[in-house]
Amino acid sequence: MVTISEKVITYKEALLRSMDDALANFPGVVIMGQGVDDHKGTFGSTINLAGKYGKDRVFDIPLSEEGNAGVAIGAALNGLYPIQTHIRNDFSLLASNQLINIAAKYKYMYGGHFEVPFLTRMIIGRSWGQGAQHSQSLQSLFAHIPGLVVIMPSSADAVLESYHHAVANYRGPVISIEHRLLYDFTFKSTYEYGATAQHDPFSSRIVRSGKDITVVATSIMVIEAQRIADYLAKEFAIGCEIIDLHSVSHYDKDMILRSVRKTGKLLVADTSWQAYGVSAEISRVVCESDPSMLKAPVISLGMQPSPCPTSKHLEDLFYPDDLSFTEKIIELVKGKNHGLQLPGRSLNEVYKKFKGPF
């Protein structure tokens, strides 16, 4: 009988540990990114690693996103495993030529003779006036491209097992999109270094079983969905089945279809815009497979179709809040005229509590 020790750690601590483990166990790993070796260490996720492993393995780089991404590709081709960071997802667009035109195609385009193993971490900002260029959530843009693995770890263990898998076992480019607001969240962690994962680390997982509705969620929306599901179970005996999509590029289609076949109801909650995004994709696979399994139209939640405004007043309207999330679930399960009384204020205060600036 193996005893699995359960710890409570923050997302940030999981990131730091995953980086530390990678450096400790794989001599080819280098971490290159803006401020990875400074006193803040990428919001704590790379802190003190330059001191521990040396400046030649954890180093700051010029403000040259495209060039740096190309450097990572060349380094990967010649024996290193680069981990790159973009302290905002938005900045990765400057590297997108290398990520999309080059890295995604390197193996295929040259007939399978080359591999470019690397991990690029990108961080989504939200709240405290991040505004239009510090808040974008670009998973569907990258997941659209064959050749890229795109993941959005929603928990400490998701970080630990995915990043270990990327570094230890996978030989291609991995884009991981982390949510800044997850960094200080605490999670129960049972992850043991090197232990075989119970599921494909680059695929989806069911984080809560339920019979009434399937909620497919990404990143921080998984956490919101879990809180709401707790509330709905307790107050109204509604059973939510929550699928953490986790891998936007390689999600578990069969898992989603099995669940929707069981519940007949589907809500997709993504951190980005709905058009051409995760919601559109998940709706596509259900429609192409068997739309008759749906007992009601699909509902999707995402950002309003505008750039992100800075004013708190408008920002609150821009993101779906947990009350509307809750309302939509009840609507799908009980119908529009459900007559249930919902609380008049937000179920969680995290977005209001976040004190930036960054």
């Binding site: 740096n68 290193l80 007939g111």
Partner: protein, 309 residues
């Protein structure tokens, strides 16, 4: 190696590249090669002069105009023609075509159709050789148009700041498709490199493989010994149109006179004795490669979705 032997060796390599491309021109109208070709004719000496000084373990990254580098770095002609024909035996299993030739076994690490996109790969490659003490030299080859991309400047700056063993080779043919260098930028590539603290050299005689070879011998030795970057600018001349097999001196964006000046200096045209001496042997080799390509099968249907992840 005596001067005469060296001359013959380099001449042979340069002529080999030219005859390969002339064979492509011959085959092209049959549509057996369905891939945009950017011919190196006129620029062969640059590839030959550089690659003669590289070890098989040195890594070279190139652009869509890369037939010359593929051959000069020592990659296989059978696999090249098979690739141009879209056959499974091609160096890229028929998925690469003319613009994405690569051959890992000889250190020819890739060629890309996105201008300037492989320059930073040579820098990253040099970063890895430095960290892993591999003793390699990494080389990026690109045109004067590529020097206008931000990525070129980012790469130069990175290589200088991190002190990396990489050679940037700018083949300056003065043209970006049809637009002339004077219309596009005001700096001089080899002068401008000095602003980054990177040493540089300019070779005006881009047809002279002996001279390029000699200069490159010094550059490669310097980079290998010091581990520092170097910029080499070579003035050269593109004989053919940007893409395709045609001549385009009948349209008024460049003059026949300058073309004739280059041809008058080009050993691959002027040294008729050496051409006569080597052509038959090379043409035999090319004929065998073409036959190999013709007889090779197309990729299996399953190849469409293979090697993506």
């Amino acid at each position: 190696m005596s001067m005469n032997k060296l001359y013959e060796k380099l001449f042979y390599e340069a002529l080999r590249i030219r005859l390969v491309e002339e064979k492509i021109i011959e085959i092209y109208p049959t549509d057996k090669i369905q891939s945009p070709v950017h011919l190196s004719i006129g620029q062969e000496a640059v590839a030959v002069g550089i690659c003669n000084n590289l070890l098989p373990t040195d890594l070279l990254y190139s652009s869509y105009r890369s037939h010359a580098y593929y051959i000069a770095k020592g990659a296989d002609l059978d696999k090249m023609f098979a690739e141009l024909y879209g056959k499974e035996a091609g160096c890229g299993k028929g998925k690469a075509g003319s613009m994405h030739l690569a051959e890992k076994s000889v250190g020819f690490m890739g060629s890309s159709a996105i201008v300037a996109s492989t320059i930073s790969h040579a820098v990253g490659s040099a970063l890895a050789s430095k960290r892993l003490n591999k003793g390699q030299v990494s080389v990026a080859t690109f045109g004067d148009g590529a020097s206008e991309e931000g990525s070129y400047h980012e790469s130069l700056s990175f290589a200088a700041a991190f002190r990396l063993p990489v050679i940037f080779v700018c083949e300056n043919n003065g043209l970006a498709i049809h637009s002339k260098i004077e219309q596009r930028h005001t700096y001089v590539v080899h002068e401008h490199a000095k602003a980054y603290g990177v040493k540089s050299v300019y070779i005006e005689e881009g047809y002279d493989f002996m001279k390029i070879n000699k200069v490159m011998a010094g550059v490669v030795e310097y980079v290998r010994e010091t581990g520092l970057p170097y910029v080499v600018e070579v003035k050269t001349y593109r004989y053919k149109e940007h893409v395709g097999i045609g001549d385009d001196h009948n349209v008024p964006y460049r003059s026949v006179d300058e073309f004739n000046e280059w041809k008058n200096a080009d050993p691959l045209i002027q040294d008729k004795e050496s051409i006569a001496k080597f052509s038959a042997k090379i043409n035999d080799e090319i004929a065998r490669a073409v036959k190999f390509a013709e007889e090779s099968p197309f990729p299996a249907d399953s190849e469409l979705l293979a090697d993506i992840y």
